[in-house]
């Protein structure tokens, strides 16, 4: 049941109407939402539901135990926090990486002449596991650091973990900001509902009119890269980055919008990454809930641990941080090298930062728009290259795709390309226009115009465009696999 389906909206209507009408207090609302969240998750994979309930119960207990020991027995609190983190990592490792390691070691021993036999593990990866385990681990760390108050209410805690708009694909919320919202009754609020619906509509637009229109073409190109020339690969690469962004940002917008309708604020996940002027800024704007999580709980401790090494310590922490982001996506060497690639880019950006600032000052480039846009273009191209690595099924596929660039240019693969030009191009221009307005704080508004006629006409036109031009029987979301 995906957010862009009629089934989801029927489900949501069946949840949200009683949510506002039937419950007089937050307890009833939370219990109702928890029930709905478990139904939603069970709909996707009911066999994994006991695992979700089980780990939630364990981490609930851990949170309370850590809070109890924080003052009286800090050592025990630290041990319990470590236990929680190890448990979270263990769950992730078993379901997400174990099969990969078995395969890799079997291949390694075989290459050394030690046959281990063919082993295939059929471990089913629970949907959304990377998202909810990070929430669980983040919770115990926050409780230990005393940046979040542990909840005694098991329903609240379970709802924080299983909240249905975000469980499948994030954003990865923090206990400190989400749990307090569950401690008061949410009333029907017209501005929240209106804003939530607008965000859902925009997310639907990004997903159906851009991501799913581009997807069939890029899938054919990268799926059969050996049959395509350099021209086609060079066009497909930036298109894939736009597809990836609009697919994931579209989902995040819908998840945030759905939560907002119910009066709950979920953390933002994207902030116009294509307007970033360097790789570091890009990562601060892309999948923000993951990058801030890893920065807080991986980068910061590493940076402190390596502080004696000076700048090299910072580089090491940066590299490991980005590798962690890369392998979070899955058990594949492509994700590892994706992390290494971005880690190295970040190290270069960090290393050249002072020189860049001196250069800008000497040439008065700080407010030069042309210079700013050329930096944005360079950043976009760096991420485009990374996205080719990201989409590849294996390193062999990635190297094969890159090797096609040396095979010469030729005519662009034009099958179904016209739909990209007719639907995805104007939709992408509209997306950039909206982001440009937000980035430069221009006083141009469509869906948020103070003039009600402009507002309503914009919304009606957007709905019509989605139905007329969107891929309404489109794909699932890319990030569901993580």
């Amino acid at each position: 049941m995906v957010v862009n389906s009629i089934n989801f909206w029927l489900f949501f209507a069946a949840v949200v109407v009683p949510y506002f009408l039937c419950f007089r207090g937050q307890r009833g609302q939370n219990l109702w939402l928890l029930l709905a969240s478990y139904v939603f998750y069970g709909w996707a994979d009911w066999k994994i539901l006991p695992l979700l309930v089980g780990v939630t119960a364990v981490f609930y207990g851990l949170g309370l135990a850590i809070a109890r020991n924080n003052e009286s027995n800090p050592r025990r609190a630290s041990q319990l926090t470590t236990l929680g983190v190890l448990l979270g990592l263990g769950i992730l490792f078993y379901f997400k990486y174990f099969g990969f390691f078995v395969q890799e070691f079997t291949a390694l021993f075989a290459s050394l002449g030690v046959p281990c036999g063919e082993r295939t593990l059929n471990i089913v990866m629970p949907i959304g596991i990377s998202f909810f385990t990070f929430k669980l681990m983040g919770y115990v760390i926050e409780v230990h650091r005393q940046t979040a108050v542990p909840t005694r209410d098991a329903v609240q805690f379970s709802l924080f973990i299983a909240f249905f708009p975000t469980i499948l694909s994030g954003p990865i919320d923090r206990a400190a900001t989400f749990l307090p919202q569950l401690q008061r009754r949410r009333r029907y609020n017209e501005s929240d509902v209106s804003e939530g619906l607008k965000r859902v509509l925009w997310g639907l637009f990004l997903k159906t009119c851009i991501a799913d229109v581009i997807a069939p073409w890029t899938t054919v190109v990268f799926g059969n890269y050996a049959h395509h020339n350099a021209t086609t690969i060079l066009v497909a690469a930036p298109l894939y980055l736009i597809q990836l962004y609009t697919d994931f940002c579209g989902f995040s917008e819908m998840a945030i919008g759905v939560a907002r309708i119910m009066g709950l604020r979920v953390v933002e996940n994207f902030q116009r990454p294509f307007f970033a002027k360097n790789v570091a800024e890009y990562w601060r704007r892309w999948h923000m809930s993951l990058t801030t999580w890893i920065t807080d709980y991986v980068f910061m401790p590493l940076n402190v641990a390596f502080r004696d090494w000076g700048l090299w310590g910072l580089y090491a922490a940066t590299l490991l941080n980005l590798i962690a982001i890369g392998v979070w996506h899955g058990a594949n060497w492509t994700y590892f090298w994706f992390g290494v690639y971005h880690g190295l880019l970040l190290c270069i950006v960090t290393g050249l930062d002072k020189r860049r600032k001196r250069f800008e000052k000497a040439h008065h480039l700080k407010d030069n728009e042309l210079y700013a846009w050329s930096r944005r273009l360079l950043t976009f191209l760096c991420f485009t290259f990374g996205s080719v690595l990201f989409q590849a099924a294996s390193m062999g596929d990635f190297l094969g795709t890159i090797a096609r660039l040396g095979q010469g240019f030729g005519p662009l693969y034009s099958e179904e390309f016209s739909s990209l030009v007719i639907y995805a191009l104007p939709a992408t221009c509209l997306m950039f226009l909206r982001e440009w307005v937000a980035e430069y704080r221009r006083d141009i508004h469509f869906m948020h115009s103070p003039n009600i006629i402009v507002r309503l006409v914009s919304i009606a036109l957007l709905i019509s465009f989605i139905i007329y031009a969107g891929q309404l029987e489109g794909n699932s979301f890319i990030y569901f696999q993580f």
């Binding site: 009629i6 017209e190 509902v193 209106s194 016209s418 739909s419 030009v421 007719i422 639907y423 009600i452 309503l456 006409v457 919304i459 009606a460 036109l461 709905i463 019509s464 139905i467 007329y468 031009a469 969107g470 891929q471 309404l472 029987e473």
Partner: protein
Amino acid sequence: MPPRFSLPLKALAVLTLVLLIDQGVGFVSRNVIQGLDDKLSQIGSIQQALLHKRSDVLILGASCAKYHYNSQILADSLQMTVENTGVGGMKAEYSDLVLQSYLERCTPRCVVIDVYGQLDSGEGRLPRVRPFYGVNQPVTDYYDSETDWQQRLKLQSALYRYNGTLDLLLRHALNAPNRSHGFAEMAGELSMKDTVVVHHFLPDPAKERHLRHVVQLCRDHSVRLVFVLSPRREHNVDQEAWVSAFCREHNLQLINELHVPDYYTEERLFHDESHLNGRGAALFSKRVARKLRIEN
């Protein structure tokens, strides 16, 4: 201070605007699509097959039909009018819909169906016939009887029915006029020599039902029905066996060209693994015409 409107009132206003746009887009699109001239584009071929074409011989099928059956050669050889209604990516439902539409206008003397791939599962390009919902009776009946309530609900919207038609119309505008009665010639030569043999075939039950309906319709209207397996470098042995058994069961003529004679390869008559090029299509059409004449 501007007046404040409640959310339900605003929602009603948006809904009214969307309905107006829906009706406007529906009116324009319906008229544009119904008035399309006869061209070799996808939307043009579908429109002509569902609404206008008449002939003595009707060719049904997917891309193999479109690229293999040279209508002019068949017409000259059989001394009958021939229309090729093959559209790439279409399956048995489409063949059934075209035949039903044809029979509402005329009774062909012979129906030839290029059957390879007609029973594969999946929707293929069938959504391309959605613009004809409410315009063409067989298409309307198909969606009303064979799709779920969600699809039927969505089809009430003209915006949804005409979803994705803008680029089809643009491609139609850029396409050449249809002077070949639906046949399109493929260029290029395939250098591959070996035939790839594939096994395992499970016909899609819905597609099989439509194929049986095609047989029944031809029986009811006393139309000669011929099944053809056209040559390809990659063929499914189990599918071939299934089609042969089906033809025996229904006492239908089967022209089986799957076991490609050597000269198809030697003379480089293939465009790719599944499609003949123009020269291959000419040779194949002559062979089919001869077999159709012999059995007539």
